[in-house]
Symmetry: C2
Amino acid sequence: MTRFRVNAFGISADGFGAGAEQSLDNPMGVGGLAMHGWAFETKTFRAMHGGESGSTGVDEEFAARSFENVGAWILGRNMFGPVRGSWGDESWKGWWGDTPPYHVPVFVLTHYERPPLEMKGGTTFYFVTEGIEEAAKRAAAAAGGRDVRIGGGVSTVQQYLKAGVIDEMHLVVSPVLLGAGEKFFGNLDLVKMGFRVTRHVMSEKVMHVVMERKR
Amino acid sequence: MTRFRVNAFGISADGFGAGAEQSLDNPMGVGGLAMHGWAFETKTFRAMHGGESGSTGVDEEFAARSFENVGAWILGRNMFGPVRGSWGDESWKGWWGDTPPYHVPVFVLTHYERPPLEMKGGTTFYFVTEGIEEAAKRAAAAAGGRDVRIGGGVSTVQQYLKAGVIDEMHLVVSPVLLGAGEKFFGNLDLVKMGFRVTRHVMSEKVMHVVMERKR
C-alpha cells in the first residue's frame, strides 16, 4: 500500500524547518543550509550531484533510505522555486538543472496553472491547482504502489499533517540555531495525531528521529 | 565574574521544555519525565539521590558539569512545587525532601511572601517577590563569584532570556514527542539575542547543545 512519507527533513535545535527570507541565493532561507550539512557529505547526495565518495555511516543510511521505494513526490511551490504569482515566461524549471534528482513524477502545489514539464532522467513536474488532497490522490496513483514522498517545505508538510495524510516522518535535528524562519512544529500536537517515535539514531553530526502514525 | 547559566535543560524533539498538566504526581507535566531519562542514569544523579554506580560517559560529563561552580540557584515557583496562590500552612518544602540537591542558596520567584527556609545540607530557599531582576541581583551576591544557575521552568528561563541576563545555556534534546506542554523557544530569536552554539555532543540517548552569548 502507498504510504506518505517525509524524509530527511532538517530542523534546527530551536525548531525551525527553514530559515527566513528565502531567495534565489538562499533557497532554504538565511542559515537554512546549515541544517543540511549532514546530508551534503553523504555518498547518496554526492552521487546525486555527479560527485564521488562521501560518507557511509548512519547519515548515509538515512540519506539512501530517503530515496528508496519512492514512486512520486509532492513539493510545495516554494520548494520548486523562488518565483511567486503567475509562472510568467515559464523559464523557471526548478533548482536542480536539466536532470533533477527525483526520476519519478513530481507534483508541485500551486495556485497558477502550468503544463507538465518533462525533464531529463525520468522526472516530470506536474502543477496541481486543485489543492493538497487532489495532489495526494494523483501522486498516489502515479506512485504505482510505491510510496509518495512529501518533500516540503514546512507549510506543505504542516498542511498534510493536519489533513491526516502523512504516515511517517524522518526528522533530522541539527545542533544549530536559526533564530528566525518557519517553525516546523507550529502548534501541531503530533502525539494527539497518533505519531510515536519508532526509531532514533545519533550520528556524529545530528539526531535522526523517525516517527510513525498508525492508520 | 558571575555568569548566569542554564544547564541540563531537557527539551523534546517537538520543542517542549515541560509537559502539560503539571501536578504533584507529574512534576514535569504529562510525558515530561521522558526528557530526563538521560540524566537519571548518570553517576551524578544517582549519587545525588543516595544511589551508586551510574553512567560515566558524555551524559555524566554534562550532568557533573551542571553542578560545578554553582554558587546560587534561581527557580520559578512551579519548579519549587505544585502549590499555587498563597503558601498556606507553609508545609510544602520543595520536591526534594529534607536535603535538597542544591547545597547553596536558592532563590524562588513568587508573588507571595514567605520567610527563608533552611534545609539540611546547605540549601536555603529564599522567596523573592520583587521580580526577576531583584532575584538575579540577590543570587549573584549570594554566589560569591561563582555562577548562578537558573533551574527553570520554561517561563522563568524565557523571562531571563528576554531580560538579557543569561550567558550560557546547555540544552539536551531527547528523541521523544510530547505533543503538548510549554514550548521552550516560544517566539524567542536566540540568534538576535547574540547566542551561538559553541559546543555540541551526541550521546547514545540525546543531543547536548551548548550556546553562549557574548556580553
